[in-house]
């Protein structure tokens, strides 16, 4: 009850401080491993931006933009992890990466998955990229009974 109220309060008394500061921006990268003990050297950006989006596509996305909105939710989860890591945020990101990868028939479902968060921020007129979080390593397959 208290938790629900805490989550509800920002909607009842909103702060409306959109873009007041341009915060460090997270990027999600993942890696597929053969075993849990394997060292990771090869990271792939999750859902990299398209090079170009046409005006027609932009107009369509005003009505239908589920993948982008999910990506923005994952950015929110990444920001929550940067502030205070929780299992919920980590699992939300892991599960969404899993689902995308398992929809690709060329991906071996018996592999293990890990993601990391890269943070881009401006420091003294330069853009700096650092790694701030490594997730746990989990089987790519969804376990029985999970979402």
């Amino acid at each position: 009850m208290f938790r629900s109220l805490k989550l509800l309060l920002p909607a009842i008394v909103p702060s409306w401080n959109f873009f007041d500061v341009i915060a460090p921006s997270p990027r999600i990268q993942f890696s597929l491993l053969n075993t849990k003990n394997e060292l990771v050297f090869d990271w792939t950006e999750f859902r990299p931006r398209l090079e170009h989006v046409s005006f027609k596509q932009m107009l369509l996305r005003v009505c239908w933009n589920p993948v982008w909105n999910e990506s923005l939710f994952m950015v929110s989860c990444a920001e929550r992890i940067m502030e205070n890591p929780t299992e919920h945020s980590e699992l939300e990101i892991l599960n969404r990466i899993k689902r995308d990868l398992l929809n690709n028939p060329t991906v071996n479902p018996d592999l293990q998955l890990q993601f990391r968060l890269e943070v881009i921020e401006r420091q003294n007129n330069k853009l700096i990229q650092t790694t701030c979080f490594h997730s746990r390593i989990v089987p790519l397959k969804f376990s029985e009974g999970s979402v």
Binding site: A11, F19, L50, F55, L127, V147
Partner: protein
Amino acid sequence: MNFDEAIRLTEILVGFAFIQQSFEHIKSFSNEKIIFFSRLTLSIVLVTGFYTSWVLILLFILSLVMLNRFQGPYNGGADRMSLLILICLLLTHLAPNQYWKEVAFGYLALQLVLSYFVSGWVKIVNPDWRSGRALRDVFEYSAYPVSQSLRAWAKSPRLLLIMSWLVMLFELIFPFTLFSEQTLIIALVVAAGFHFANACLFGLNRFFWIWIAAYPSIFWFQLRLSSIM
């Protein structure tokens, strides 16, 4: 637009906005599908206008379920505005008399005004916004630009400086457009255009629909203010 018409129009617009949001989850995980299929059904009933008080109560409960499911809003400010509209509509329906009904709906109009004014204020007190640097950073490295080609806008500092000041000044003068119906209409057209641009450039489509859903409240509020003054 009288009070009842404004309420009804808000219910219809927020219903359509929720339908749009819910459809975006039809290919999601099974537990999300259950939540959003329920929301979709309730939103359709809200648009038709049957049992509105009960539908609003159920939509509010469902919003609490969503907040718990995602441990906060799924879509940031758009979800917060969705919930705010829902709560104000619900209070309007449950209020014991016309005075409290108007207070509840007036609160939505007030928050709509603040959503622009406060956004403008927090920007203008930031030197990075005043110099255009903040908007350059948005395009250069934030998570929002929908394509790599849009990142090139960061190389046009003069354009972004002008855009920054236009956005800040518009947001700050927004409350003053309440002085007449004509200026308010112009301001809302500009504001809708601003949300539309954000939907196109940054993919923030839900903001566009849900902010428009709150506009009837401010139309009514402006008329109410004129009748008092």
